[in-house]
Amino acid sequence: MFQELTDKLEAVLHKLRGHGTLNEKNIAESMREVRRVLLEADVNYKVAKQFIADVEQRALGQEVLRSVTPGQMVVKIIHDEMTRLLGEKEAPLVFGRSLPSVILLAGLQGSGKTTFAGKLARHLRKKGRTPLLVAADIYRPAAVEQLKVLGRSLDIQVYSEENRDAAAIAAHALDHARKNLLDTAIIDTAGRLHIDEEMMAEVARIKEATSPAEILFVADSMTGQDAVTTARAFLERLDFSGVVLTKMDGDARGGAALSIRAVTGKPIKFVSSGEKLDQLEPFHPDRLASRILGMGDVLSLVEKAQEAVDLEKAVKLEKKLRRAEFNLEDFLDQLQQLKRMGPLQDILTMIPGAQAKAFKGMQVDDKALIRVEAIIRSMTVKERNNPNILDGSRRKRIARGSGTSVQEVNRVLNQYNMIVKMMKTMKHGGRGMRLPTGF
């Protein structure tokens, strides 16, 4: 997609070559493509319009750097501008002086408040705080129960009571927190429509009763054009202090975030992806900008790889590869590094062009990795270093030991043999090609 945008811009700006500057005409033409990309990413129509006007201004008269083509130059300007708009510096959570410090969550129905509440509680405890979850959604069936289940699984206290007054529940929860020396109260409120006067008044009452240090507007990253309407209405009523983007593990490009940021000026504080309670990340404006522009989350991918890969081992491996001495022990090592990068599904979504269809039908099965690992672990050291000795009876033993079948053991060995073969051709080809780490 990034490639697509760059290609389109290259085509439009083709004539520019030899001129060396971006001018009104070639910019205007390329901006039409940019506009389309933005609208397809769910950036609000008017926000897109304003954004493009700004970029156009900035791009005008810029000299095209010698090293880059005009298309890349324009994309860079757009990316920089979008990153700037999304937030230049990190916006950490603010805590109040009085205890407990209150974090109030608000948003539309189904935006993911309750799941986020659980994630946030876990996150804060890891940071050394003692959170209390407050169940102030008295409307949605079983909402309180949902929070209680989350609390139980995290071993974090949940405050709830039979009461038809959510503001009173919240106030009582703060007393409870003070008595039990809990320093942070996370208030999970009911989902509400911004045009529901009664419900908006209720959340305003909760705010009044608890004086939160943070009010977070929880927004679904799949939201379309209406994001600006809702965000503005919640801002007017609550003056929220930050935004949380949820369900970022899907393939939505997340343009709504740009819209919300543009109309409210409030920082995006968290990005939440996945239903598991440890899937919460701080917000990186540059990465979201890439995603909105369809550039894939290359940076996150690189970072994850850096975190997971042991450099020393990588150097050793490269040497081995050159000598074509790659054995099953090394194979196992590689698998473990890959596993440390997180679920394969998450990694795939970060690869540019992997959005939507590219990986359709591709088996993304983390369990397959575990089975391969089990198979190799069921071998003796001798076998791992010298796979040639693996005869029928050894394979049978390995299959039994790893809880797999001989066919699966054969498959792993075939894969290994293919890698070895590939390396031999590389060696003979004599080119200094580097295998991507992780594989």
């Binding site: 539309l108 069936p141 079983a142 949902q146 429509l193 543009a262 409210t264 000026g265």
Partner: protein, 307 residues
Amino acid sequence: MLDLFKKFQHGLARTKSGLVEGVQRIINQARGIDEEVLEELEELLILSDLGVATTETVIENLRQRSRESGRIEPGEVLELLKQELIAQLGPGGQAAAGPEEPVHQPTVISVVGVNGAGKTTTIGKLAHLHASRGRKVLLAAADTFRAAAAEQLEIWKDRAGVEIIPSQSGADPASVAFDSLKAAMARHVDYLFIDTAGRLHTKENLMAELEKIHKVLARQCPGAPHEVLLVIDATTGQNGLSQARRFAEAVKVTGLVVTKLDGTAKGGIVFSIARELGIPVRYVGLGEKIDDLQRFDPQTFVEALFA
């Protein structure tokens, strides 16, 4: 930095309803259709989440028609646009009648969608709808993943006055579906609703799980599920098309339910879904109360874009 946001806020001051009035005024000034009018209409459609491709098609058709007919009276412009929009909903748009009568005993209806779209609420309303017509309804709590999902369905069961096959948290959803269908056949119910867990369409393993649930149903009762309703949140933007595409690839989606239309979002993505995938809209959800569900009516839906 503040100025940066001021600019955006100012640009957005005009409300949506003001927009429609503005469009009509420009149409009147232009005495019909001109490029400025088309641009305003384009904005209106994009703001309703129709997406660039569908919007361009609609606008192009309108331009074509105005060229062919020579002159279009100011009073007719919006009417023509509405006709175009209804046409985009396809044959599904006109004949969007779900099985109002049971097609089989039991008629199995599986309800699927991403997290937070409103599946459970929709099932509560549909159960009520059929039960109030004297039909025997059974619910299957096949969302065994999300915390307290079964409890939520349990409450809807009580409200609708129907029966439920409960499940254990963490149980295999396919086996819950299997048990429910067995019970539905034994008890001679008219409708069995399968409440599946919310899943993002990009998660291969969860989509495979959904396929498995459906396979298990079909094995036990050929033809089941007789209807597969994909629930789409009206606030969803262009990602809705990707959702529909992936769900339709995994299971045979027979209809859409558009929820949360009581807000300010217009649910325009269903035009693209109907156009590209030919999936008709069956129902619209208009609130959290048990009777806040209506049969889909293309005319009303299109009118609402201009409200």
